[in-house]
Symmetry: C2
Subunit: 128 residues, 2 copies
DNA sequence: CCGCATCCGATTTGATACTG
DNA sequence: CAGTATCAAATCGGATGCGG
């Protein structure tokens, strides 16, 4: 039988038993998506990433990169030279995520004003 | 001088001076995207959300909803009846974010195994 | 230059109990 | 049912110092 009698209008990708949550918990921390976004155009050195992502601390960059490398989203290449050089780059797997990050970034830019307006302006008419 | 020979291939949507960061800081907390995703198909009551998002605490759900309402991504409708009923729903603005969340969720499902394999299996060949 | 380890304060989170 | 309040715990995040 095979009848998939699903009454839903579209296949709900959430609620698959935790797969989404599992991955979301990884990428929805404060910096992961920013780092992936920063690497969208090509490899970057540690210091370059630090400058590209304003506000991130060395510690958080290190930790975030370690996680991303562990998950296989980013690759790390250390060149044994003096001075040392280390480059980070999105892996093929990471590349598949980049477009989504960019889409999210574009959404953020596009709706930033509206969100800010809501956040500040939603005051009641009692304002006199 | 001059020579910024930066070969920029496409307009980088990041680094616009903080707009992305501003919004990202809002939505990249642990629960916001999950809540938006849970509301993708229609209004849900408080308790329904609690059940839909496994693992969230009452407190976190309350706080997250409050933020989302404040930002205008979610609307809250309280019906003055007994027992009380409150429904949450994505606003038109929130609806524009839903597709991105779904895309992210689909990505998560699609690459979950690969990520987990990397996380666990990246062990050195010493595995005897 | 890269990046890890430690200390320490700030923020976030969750369990529980209580109100409308 | 929906939401608040309080407290303790866990985590985050930054500054600093050290090692490769």
């Amino acid at each position: 039988m095979t009848g998939i009698t699903r009454t839903r209008t579209c296949p709900p990708p959430m609620n698959d038993g935790g797969a989404v949550r599992e991955v979301f918990d990884r990428i929805s921390d404060k910096w992961s998506l920013l780092v992936v976004g920063a690497l969208r155009e090509g490899p970057l050195r540690f210091g370059e990433l630090e400058k590209a992502i304003t506000g991130i601390s060395q510690r958080m960059l290190t930790l975030t990169l370690k996680h991303l490398v562990q998950d296989g989203l980013v690759s790390r290449t250390a060149y044994a030279e003096v001075p040392p050089r280390v480059e980070y780059e999105v892996t093929p797997l990471g590349k598949t995520l980049v477009p989504l990050v960019i889409a999210l970034a574009e959404w953020a830019i596009e709706h930033r004003d509206e969100i800010n307006a809501n956040r500040r302006g939603a005051l009641p008419p009692t304002g006199s």
